[in-house]
Structures are given as structure tokens and as C-alpha cells.
């Protein structure tokens, strides 16, 4: 709190990013949030910005109306305030500068956030995801794979988790030897086991091969992986880097596997660019889509020049290669990049998602992130700029993974239990530092920070509002018929993810949401079914059959065709009980007209939109705002979700 000099500024103007619109309101600065409250309007909008979400604050040069303050957030929100007095602006500016650069983990929001749960609830939240159980689900340990305790004390590899799965034939000396030959000690370990063909997906970092070095233990290790799979004589080694990068690494004593030294491997470069290229690419993308009155040509050219979708496709291609090798050829695959925590995590996670329908459910997706990203040491703290920023370490690697998943949900609308709002919400919290899950760079660090004792788990929070993230057209039977997804990699299927990168630019969103409408329908269907059941049991309790009630039902017009009377129309005869049920349902179905308006009235968002936001140009601005229908609010209040 000592950093806050001016907690409240009035008469602050908030400018719309893409139009000439602006609103006046009050700016509040708290220890955790910057809050803007619109004044005078009846439906005053509030904007809550968590300090951790702020990527940069910029004070622009003074104008006649005040001092502009430009705030850019990691969740792609961009706000432009104009503060009347320069002094206030400067106070806010310098407070924010300090607040958005926490110097120690203790300052992170997660350590002060308290959702009013007791310790037991918190513990239960952390126990939701159990990776040992996950490996068991895959069928590991088994006759070829075992749990090793070699990293119990984080002695062999401090960025790996304690529990690791390796081939039974890989002895401790082999593991230790192999780890010495791998960058950061990240030796090959199992991350996914495809039970049907006993094929394994393993991950590691690059070998320290330089120009000619070799390591017998490492060669044995790969041999062991190969031997553990009787279906295939060879094991694929996927180096997810472009060949040039791998070659360059040789000069630094690192590099890639020499096929002559390793028997039975098939080596393959995949060509995903490094974190610096990805960072630059996203920056370019955001610059393009942030341009005001952008023309279609500039948009498409900018999209192309940013290279963003090219990178997304490269990751997808790699994952598809992995999934094909495992499911079609039944071969085991070893994936690595340089350190084995960025591209490797992307490819392993996405590949597993393609192979295993479980990871396409809400719970399964959490498990997947917990396994391939959190436990295997994707450096969330560095990549997401949580603390002690080194701008060279920041990169949207995890965002890319989420986007790849989104691209898949677009191609397979029925394959995923969750909707894009789930992905966006996860993205929000990777940066919010509100929950403990993503803090730090490795499991070891998390243990030192005692996150499980001092913070809450995001997964419990997300599961508690699971309703909001469901995909209403999800079909488990689709998963049965398509256990392995085979996405098209045609370029035209890779689309710009507007709802992610413009999640706060409401004028760009569809004004009505199919998703929300169908979800509401589905939810109300579920509720009605419940009511029917409840009333039925009640009636049964009284020993009353519903049939006497039937004559009371007045004949009525229905806009839907009436159910066929089985006897008359010669339809298959239902059993007496079923007929009874149908009648019950029909009678109780009427209830909705009286008691369940939620589906149609309560929840309904306003249709229509306003003209000034659409950028038709020319006439805009010359009109005062007449009573325009409001824009649809963001799906589930994403705007305020961190509060």
C-alpha cells in the first residue's frame, strides 16, 4: 500500500480503442487492482485490471484535455485513460510502475488472495489432479515401464518432477549417465503411453553432442525406449527445432543425435521457431490488429507478415506427425528441442490431445496441462513475466498451445467438452498470479514456495464454475468414433483467434452468441428433467398415479406437432410405463412456461449494437448517442473474472 500515492482520481476519460467514443469515470488504485468505474450512466461499466496483468504503462505527452495514460495488458486488453491533472497521472503512473514489478514471490496476488475457503477445501482443491493416477490411467507402470526414484531429491534434474517413468531396462547408472549428456540434465522420460500399441511418447532436452561427442549411456537409454515397444523396430527422434538452429547449437557443445551412433532411430527435424521469434511474431500480430480503421488488405497482409499463423501451423504439423507415428505406425517417439520445456511441451501436449479423447474433457485438459507443462517445468514465471522480468525470457509459448487447441475446436466442434472460454480463462489465470498453479518455473521451486499450503488451486476454481465452460454440442460418442483426431492442415483452416486477442474489444465480437444460447437451452433442459423427476417421485410417494390428472389437461394448440398416438398411427407400441412417462413429461413440460423464464428472459442479452463502434466512417461522430441498444456483454464476464 505504501506505493499508492493517489488512490482515487475523478473525471478520468476512458477512450475506446477503435472509435472516437469515450466515457468519463473514476479511477481507483488498490493494492491489487486498478479499477475504473464509469460515472453517471445507469448501467455503469466497471473495469478491473489486476496489476499482474499489466504488461506496460506508458505516459503519453500532455494534451489539452489532460494527460494520457496507455496501459497494455498481457490478456490483450489495452486501455487508454486521459487523466485531467498531470500530477495525478504521474502519481498513478509511478505507483503502477512499482506495483506491476513485484520483487519477490510474496508480493504476488496468489499469496493474499482468499476465496473464503477453509484449509480442508484448499487441500481438496490441490488434490483434484493426481499425476500418479493419470499414469495409471495410461497403463503405467507396466511390464515395460516403471517409476524411478532417481529424481526424488531433484538431484539428477532439478527442473523435472520427482516422479518419473522410464523403461524397466534403464538402470540408474544409465539414467544418470544420460542426464549428464543432456542439456540441463533433462534425460528422456515417459510423458504419454499409448496403450493400444504400447507405444511411448518420451521427452528430453538436446544432447550435448557438439560435433562428435557421444555418450554410451544415452545411446543405451534410447535403446531401452526402443526395446520397450515390441510393435516397432525403430524409435522416432523428433527435434522440434529448425535444422539450422540445431546445427548452430553444435558449436556450443550441444546439438542433436547422430543417427550413426544410435541404432534404430529415425531422426526428424520439425522446424518450430524459438521463443524469440514467437515473441516477435505476436508483437507484430498485435500491432497489426491494434491499428485503427484497419483495411482488409492491411489486415491480411499484416497477418501474413506477422507469421503467427505459420508458427501455429508448424506446431500443429509437429503434433500431427507425432500422433501419426504413434497411432498408425505404433512407434515410440522421443521429442526434444533445446531445453525441452517449450516446443517439446507444446508438441507432446498437443500430440497427446490428438491421440486421447480424455484430454479433450475439462478434467483431462487440466491433467494434461499439469503433466506436460507444470510438472515438466515449462518456465511459467519467466515466459509469463511473473517476477524479476527478463524481457528476453518472455514468450507466448503457452498461449500458442491454447491457440492450437482452439484451432482444433473450430475444426471439430463436437470433440471437446469445453468451449473457447475455458481456454481464455486459463490464459487469463496463467498471467493473473491469482492461483498457485502456474507460479514459479519448476516443481521444486513450487515446493520451496509452499504453494499448496499458501495459495489456492485454479483447477478447483474452474471446476466450481464448470457450467460456464461447457461446449453444448460436445458429444462423447464423437470421441468414441474419433479416438484419434486427424485435423486438416490446409492453410485455410488456420484462423485468427479474435475472441482471444480481442477479448476486450467488444465492438468486434458477434453481437449474439450461439454458444451461450445453446448452453442456456441445454441447462434448462437439464433442470426441467430434474423437476420432472422430482415431481414424479413426490407423486409416487403419495401413491398417486398421474393418469387421473390427464383428463384435466385441456385440449390445446401446440405449435409443435403432437406426439403420435402410438395406437392410432401404428407406431411401435411403447410399454405401458413409457407411455405413462411420456404423458408425465408432457404435462410437466408446461411448467417452463410459468416458472422457468431464465432461459428466455432472465439471461437474455441485448441484441443490436451501436453504429459508432463499427467504423463505417464519414458520419460517425456527428451523431450524439441516441438510445442505442447495448452490445452483448462478454460471455461470462471475462472482463471481471479475476475479481
Amino acid at each position: 500500500m505504501e506505493h499508492i500515492r493517489t488512490p482515487k482520481v475523478e473525471q478520468v476519460k476512458l477512450l475506446d480503442r477503435f472509435s472516437n467514443k469515450s466515457v468519463i469515470g473514476t479511477l481507483h488504485l488498490t493494492a491489487t487492482h486498478l479499477i475504473f468505474v464509469e460515472s453517471n450512466s445507469t448501467s455503469a461499466q466497471e473495469i478491473w485490471i489486476l496489476h499482474h496483468h499489466i504488461a506496460s504503462v506508458e505516459k503519453l505527452s500532455l494534451t489539452t484535455s489532460g494527460c494520457p495514460l496507455l496501459i497494455q495488458c498481457r490478456n490483450f486488453r489495452l486501455v487508454h485513460f486521459v487523466i485531467p491533472r498531470e500530477r495525478d497521472c504521474h502519481d498513478i503512473y509511478s505507483s503502477l510502475l512499482r506495483l506491476l514489478r513485484p520483487v519477490s514471490y510474496d508480493e504476488l496476488y496468489a499469496f493474499s488472495y482468499n476465496p473464503k475457503q477453509n484449509d480442508q477445501q484448499r487441500e481438496e482443491g490441490w488434490q483434484l489432479i493426481d499425476l500418479a493416477a493419470e499414469f495409471e490411467r495410461m497403463g503405467v507402470p507396466c511390464d515395460q515401464w516403471q517409476l524411478t526414484d532417481v529424481n526424488r531429491e531433484y538431484k539428477v534434474c532439478e527442473t523435472y518432477p520427482r516422479d518419473l517413468y522410464v523403461p524397466i531396462t534403464a538402470s540408474k547408472p544409465i539414467i544418470v549417465g544420460s542426464s549428464r549428456f543432456r542439456s540441463k540434465g533433462r534425460f528422456p522420460v515417459l510423458t504419454y503411453f499409448y496403450q493400444e500399441k504400447k507405444a511411448a511418447v518420451c521427452r528430453c532436452s538436446q544432447p550435448l553432442s557438439g560435433f562428435s561427442a557421444r555418450c554410451l549411456e544415452d545411446e543405451h537409454m534410447l535403446q531401452a525406449i526402443s526395446k520397450a515397444n515390441h510393435n516397432s523396430r525403430y524409435v522416432y527422434v523428433m527435434d522440434t527445432r529448425p535444422k539450422l538452429n540445431a546445427l548452430a547449437n553444435r558449436a556450443a557443445g550441444k546439438g542433436y543425435e547422430n543417427e550413426d551412433n544410435y541404432s534404430n532411430i529415425r531422426f526428424q527435424f520439425v522446424g518450430i521457431e524459438n521463443i524469440h521469434v514467437m515473441r516477435g511474431s505476436l508483437q507484430k500480430l498485435l500491432e497489426v490488429v491494434g491499428t485503427r480503421s484497419l483495411s482488409m488488405t492491411d489486415y491480411l497482409v499484416g497477418l501474413e507478415n506477422s507469421g503467427w499463423l505459420r508458427h501455429i501451423k508448424a506446431i500443429m504439423d509437429a503434433a500431427i506427425f507425432l500422433a501419426k507415428a504413434v497411432t498408425v505406425e505404433g512407434a515410440s517417439v522421443l521429442v526434444h528441442c533445446s531445453d525441452g520445456w517449450d516446443r517439446t511441451a507444446q508438441v507432446c501436449a498437443l500430440g497427446s490431445l490428438l491421440m486421447d479423447p480424455y484430454y479433450r474433457t475439462i478434467k483431462g485438459f487440466m491433467v494434461l496441462i499439469e503433466k506436460d507443462w507444470i510438472s515438466f517445468g515449462h518456465k511459467f514465471a519467466d515466459r509469463c513475466d511473473q517476477l524479476d522480468p527478463d524481457p528476453k525470457e518472455v514468450s507466448p509459448i503457452f498461449t500458442q498451445f491454447l491457440e492450437c487447441v482452439w484451432q482444433l475446436t473450430e475444426q471439430f466442434p463436437q470433440a471437446f467438452e469445453f468451449s473457447e472460454w475455458f481456454l481464455i480463462q486459463i490464459h487469463e489465470h496463467v498471467h493473473s498470479c491469482q492461483f498457485g498453479n502456474f507460479l514459479g518455473n519448476s516443481q521444486r521451486q513450487r515446493e520451496v514456495l509452499q504453494l499448496k499450503e499458501r495459495t489456492y488451486s485454479l483447477w478447483a476454481h474452474l471446476l466450481s464454475e464448470k457450467q460456464n465452460y461447457l461446449n453444448p454440442v460436445y458429444s462423447p460418442s464423437f470421441a468414441e468414433s474419433h479416438p484419434v483426431l486427424e485435423p486438416s492442415t490446409q492453410a485455410c483452416h488456420f484462423k485468427f483467434w479474435r475472441n482471444m486477442y480481442h477479448q476486450y474489444d467488444r465492438s468486434m465480437h458477434p453481437r449474439q452468441s450461439i454458444l451461450k444460447q445453446v448452453l442456456t437451452f441445454k441447462e434448462s433442459n437439464r433442470e426441467l428433467e430434474g423437476t420432472v423427476q422430482a415431481l414424479k417421485t413426490k407423486l409416487q410417494k403419495f401413491g398417486v398415479s398421474t393418469s387421473p390428472l390427464k383428463p384435466q389437461t385441456p385440449p390445446r394448440e401446440r405449435s409443435l406437432p403432437p406426439r403420435p398416438q402410438s395406437l392410432i398411427l401404428g407406431a411401435p407400441l411403447l410399454s405401458r410405463k413409457e407411455v405413462q412417462q411420456e404423458e408425465d413429461e408432457e404435462v410437466f413440460g408446461e411448467e417452463a412456461r410459468e416458472d422457468a423464464p431464465a432461459s428466455t428472459d432472465g439471461e437474455r442479452t441485448v441484441e443490436g449494437s451501436s453504429a459508432t463502434e463499427n467504423g463505417y466512417g464519414e458520419l460517425t461522430g456527428s451523431f450524439g448517442s441516441k438510445n442505442e441498444p447495448a452490445v452483448v456483454t462478454l460471455e461470462f464476464g471475462v472482463a471481471r473474472m479475476t475479481c
Binding site: S295, M296, T297, L300, V301, L303, L309, R310, I312, K313, Q411, F412, P413, Q414, P472, F478, S488, A491, C492, H493, F494, M508, H509, P510, R511, Q512, I514, Q517, V518, F521, S524, N525, L528, V544, P554, R558, L560, V587, F588, G589, E590, E591, A592, R593, E594, D595, S599, E607, G608, S609, A611, E613, N614, G615, Y616, G617, E618, L619, S622, F623
Partner: protein, 565 residues
């Protein structure tokens, strides 16, 4: 020449058909005067593919052994058929001669120019009769139904013999105080005689959208008093109207050199002119060709794809059409002024903008019936030259003449609006796709000819069936309805940020696996909505349930009493 004379080989056996995402099939191929029929050879439940020859845009043949011996063993040919609905088929035909015969028959029969030889004149399904009404409405009926017009507007039949304007219908709606004589003068001052007529009157404020062609001011700035009076009568005392000229200011200036021009400020002092550049004709046709080409090559890298997508400019056309329509709506709805829309000829972009503006403004045009009526009024009766514009689609190698996919562009824009307001339209994407297909090749007469006059002369109304009538039969297919439809009275302004617009994958990637996944998801939505309707009931007036609950309560009371006793 009889149509059948084009057919040299009518039947070929053992033909292999290849379609995207289906296994190859062997069967018999038949060519008739209007159709290509393929039937597989299984006896029961045989599968057939029937393609209107008119749907075939281009045909490519490759024959092995072209200069060798005819009928040599194993000689065969492959015909690739590219349809106007963007489907591409391959037929492997045994026998070189047969292959060449089939190809030449298809070529000849798919490019018939005579209207009365076209299939709609032969299409006689048992469930339709020719005696019914043709079309959904007429200008007179529209006027009669639209009470807000009665006061200030009238129906003029000055064009009853199509002499004033050959491309207008026989009746048009004009300001009440302007007599037919003035209309004739105004028509002489407008290209193609398309004088300003009413297109839409806004139900909220009575402001109107007019449309016309460009005035023929020419190089020496001619003027026409009657035309000025006509427009003055449109705004009737209000101080301002907007003219949305669908050309850039420079183009409008240049048009004067060829006898065209624009309404100058000095003579039309109450009208404010706004120029918006829209591509037309060949440029738009080439956009379609480039886009379809980009979509049909699966090997493109992302960069190449984006560059080709950009280069096609198709989305830019969508963008400008929606922006200008938004501008028109802004003038009418927010600014409360009337608008005159025109480009040069007033038969293409003008109709595109005026009909899109109506879709945005008018809830009535968002129902199935309303939308089809809108198309009938603003495109068919208003004289969009369908025959010229839709003679060829994206694959044709023929030299372009008057082709231009403006109607397809309209459907794309409507699709964009639906994307942004998925609850506001009563019809579904399937209806748009059906229209996109019918406009190029159809069993029905609706899209035949270039104007009402031509349709009358060819006897289209007497001898063909009407597509719109057939779409609106009481058993209208469920797939054309939007399960989520919830009517709204408000204007539905689409966002025209490039990020808000998308490639219409339903059309341009129609024949891919992707489309199949979408279709399944759509069915799922239908079933959820249906379940909802079944459980919740579509109407809320009935209170059977409360009766039911009352009974339950009385039972409960009884039980309570019993317990006490």
C-alpha cells in the same frame, strides 16, 4: 437444332466416379438434354448422382492414347467436371471416343443460351402445379401491405409496357406528388431509364431508401428539372437527404466524359453526396476466380494462403459492401434522413447495398418469407441481370463477358451478418447455400432472364416453377430454418472491423471434410433446441402445470391432515 442432337453418346458403362471425401464408385453414366446422370450398379438401393448440365462451369478432358488406335484395349479418358456450386468431380470413362463424345455433349449442352430451352421449362415435378401464383408478391401487393406508404407514395404504372425503363418492373413506387410525365423526363435523364424509385420505407421514422442509376449530366453539366423535383419530393420539406454514390469521387467525375455523372450540389441543394468506392463487373468476377483457386489448392503454406486470400480481394468487397450498407442505415436510422443509392447502372452494387441495408434495418426482412420477398423485390423485379451475371462461375475458361458474382457477394454479406447476429435471422446458412446454387443452375425459373420484361417475353411465369414458392411450401425443410431464431425489432449493425469478417467456409470450403463436422454440430444444436421446445413448450400461455401443481398441493394437505388425525 434439337437438344438431343448434341448427344453423340448417351450411355457409357463402367465409368469410375471420384468425388472429394468419398470412395471411388463404378457405374453407368448417362447424358440427357439437361442432366448428367451417374448411377452405380448395385441393384438394390442404387445410388445416383444427378447434375444439371447448366451447373457445369468447366470441363477438362485428358485422353490417353489420343493419337493411337481408336478403341484400343485399355484406352480411356478422364473428364474433370467443375461445377458452378464449386464441386469438382472426376469421371474415368473407358473408350476414348466415348470420352470425347461425352465431353463435347456436355460442353455444348451446358452453355445453351436460349432461355426457353433451359431446364426450368421442362421441369415438371408431380408435387407442383403451374397454375399456382408465380412469385411471392408484386409491387402493387407490397404497396397494399405497407400502410406507411399510403400517405406520401403511390404506385406508378408508367412503365407498364417497359418503354420508360426496360429493366424496371411494370409498376414502381414513387412520391405521390410526382406525376408520370415527370417520371418519363427523369427516366430520360438516368442511365438505362432507371429513375429514382422507392426501395424501402423505414418503419420507425418513415425515411426512405431510394435507388436509381447515375444521372446523365455529361461533360457540359446538363440538368433535368423533373429529376430534381422528383428528388425534392422524396425529402418533402425535410432539409436534407443523402446520396450514396457507389463510385469514388474521381470515378464519378470521369463518368461525365462518357455521358454519365452525378448530382451536383448546386442543382440538388438539399442532398449531400457521399462517395464510396465499390469494385464492379470483371474485377469482382476475377476476385471470385482467384479466391476459389486459392481455396482449392490444399498445398499452400499459411503465408501463401493469406497472400492469395488478400490478393483475391473478395473479403475487401465484403467489407466495403457491409460498410456502405452500414452507412446507409446510419443515415436512415440514426440521422433520420432519406437516402438515394446509385452507382453507374444501378443494377448491381446499388441493389447489393440497398438490400443489405434493409436486412440490417427491417425485422420483417429477416424471416424466411421476408428475406425471399426482399430478394424478389430488390433483385428479380428490380432487374438484376441474372442471366448475364451468372452465366459462368469461378472455373470457366470462357472469356468473361458480363459475369459478376454480385448476388453471391450479397449472400456472403448476409452470412457475415448472421455470424454476428446468429439469433436474429429466421433462416439458416443452408438457405443461403441453396440460393448460391440455384442462382447459377436451377430447376426453377426464378433466376432466369435479365429483367421482368424478358421474363414476360419468354413466358417464364407461365411455363416454369417459382423457386421461392417452392421454398415456402408449408413443409419447408427444417434445414433452412435457424433453430435459435429470436426476432428482434432493433437494427442489427454488423461490425465491419476486418477481424470481425471471415471467409465463408460453408460456401468456399463446402466440399471438404470440415463441412461435414460443421453439419454434425449443427444437427446437435437442432436436437438440443428441439428438446428444449419439447420440454419447455413453445408457448407460455398454458397453465396446465399449475392445475397439476394445485392437485398435488391438495393431496399434500390431505396427507397432512391425515397425519394429524
Amino acid at each position: 437444332m434439337e437438344l438431343s442432337e448434341h448427344i453423340k453418346t448417351a450411355n457409357v458403362e463402367d465409368v469410375t466416379l471420384r468425388r472429394p471425401f468419398h470412395p471411388a464408385l463404378r457405374g453407368t453414366l448417362c447424358v440427357t438434354s439437361h442432366h448428367l446422370l451417374f448411377s452405380d450398379r448395385k441393384d438394390e438401393a442404387s445410388w445416383q448422382l444427378l447434375i444439371l448440365l447448366k451447373n457445369i462451369d468447366a470441363i477438362e478432358k485428358s485422353v490417353e492414347n489420343l493419337f493411337g488406335y481408336p478403341r484400343a484395349v485399355g484406352s480411356s479418358g478422364t473428364i474433370t467436371i467443375k461445377c458452378k456450386d464449386l464441386l469438382v468431380l472426376q469421371l474415368e470413362i473407358p473408350g476414348m471416343e466415348e470420352c470425347l463424345n461425352i465431353a463435347s455433349s456436355i460442353e455444348a449442352l451446358s452453355s445453351l443460351e436460349s432461355v426457353t430451352e433451359m431446364y426450368p421449362f421442362f421441369y415438371r415435378p408431380s408435387h407442383l402445379t403451374l397454375n399456382g401464383p408465380w412469385g411471392l408478391s408484386s409491387t402493387e401487393q407490397y404497396y397494399k401491405q405497407t400502410e406507411r406508404l399510403w400517405d406520401r407514395w403511390r404506385v406508378s404504372t408508367v412503365n407498364s409496357d417497359y418503354s420508360v425503363c426496360p429493366s424496371y418492373p411494370s409498376a414502381v413506387i414513387v412520391p405521390r406528388e410526382v406525376d408520370d410525365d415527370k417520371l418519363i423526363h427523369s427516366a430520360r435523364f438516368r442511365q438505362g431509364g432507371r429513375f429514382p424509385v422507392l426501395s424501402y420505407c423505414h418503419h420507425r421514422n418513415g425515411m426512405v431508401i431510394m435507388r436509381s442509376s447515375q444521372p446523365l449530366t455529361g461533360a457540359n453539366k446538363k440538368r433535368c428539372k423533373e429529376d430534381e423535383l422528383l428528388l425534392q419530393a422524396v425529402i418533402d420539406g425535410s432539409e436534407l437527404g443523402y446520396i450514396i454514390d457507389l463510385r469514388s469521387a474521381q470515378q464519378a467525375q470521369q463518368a461525365r466524359m462518357t455521358g454519365g455523372g452525378f448530382e451536383s450540389k448546386s442543382f440538388y441543394s438539399h442532398w449531400k453526396r457521399i462517395h464510396r468506392h465499390h469494385e464492379r463487373g470483371k474485377v469482382v468476377q476475377e476476385s471470385l476466380i482467384k479466391l476459389v483457386e486459392a481455396c482449392s489448392d490444399p498445398s499452400h503454406s499459411v503465408d501463401r494462403w493469406l497472400s492469395k486470400l488478400e490478393n483475391s480481394k473478395w473479403l475487401s468487397h465484403v467489407h466495403s459492401a457491409l460498410s456502405t450498407a452500414g452507412l446507409v442505415v446510419e443515415c436512415v436510422e440514426r440521422d433520420g434522413h432519406s437516402v438515394l443509392v446509385h452507382g453507374s447502372e444501378g443494377t448491381d452494387n446499388t441493389l447489393l447495398v440497398s438490400s443489405l441495408a434493409q436486412l440490417i434495418l427491417d425485422p420483417a426482412s429477416r424471416t424466411v418469407t421476408g428475406f425471399l420477398c426482399l430478394l424478389e423485390r430488390e433483385w428479380i423485379q428490380a432487374g438484376h441481370p441474372f442471366q448475364q451475371r451468372c452465366a459462368h462461375s469461378a472455373y470457366s475458361h470462357a472469356r468473361l463477358k458480363q459475369e459478376c458474382p454480385i448476388f453471391l457477394l450479397l449472400l456472403d454479406c448476409v452470412w457475415q451478418v448472421w455470424r454476428q447476429f446468429p439469433l436474429a435471422l429466421e433462416f439458416s446458412e443452408a438457405l443461403l447455400l441453396r440460393l448460391a446454387q440455384e442462382v447459377y443452375a436451377s430447376n426453377y425459373g426464378t433466376f432466369l432472364c435479365n429483367s421482368e420484361q424478358e421474363r414476360c417475353a419468354a413466358g417464364v411465369k407461365e411455363n416454369t416453377h417459382c423457386l421461392f414458392q417452392s421454398l415456402l411450401r408449408p413443409d419447408i425443410e427444417e434445414q433452412y430454418l435457424n433453430p435459435l431464431y429470436e426476432p428482434t425489432d432493433l437494427a442489427i449493425w454488423p461490425s465491419v472491423h476486418p477481424q470481425s469478417l471471415q471467409l465463408w467456409t460453408g460456401l468456399f470450403l463446402r466440399w471438404t471434410e470440415y463441412a461435414q463436422n460443421m453439419e454434425e454440430a449443427r444437427e446437435e444444436v437442432w436436437s438440443i433446441v428441439k428438446e428444449h421446445h419439447e420440454q419447455a413448450g413453445p408457448d407460455r400461455t398454458n397453465n396446465t402445470l399449475s392445475t397439476h401443481c394445485d392437485t398435488l398441493t391438495s393431496f399434500e394437505n390431505l396427507m397432512d391432515e391425515l397425519t394429524i388425525l
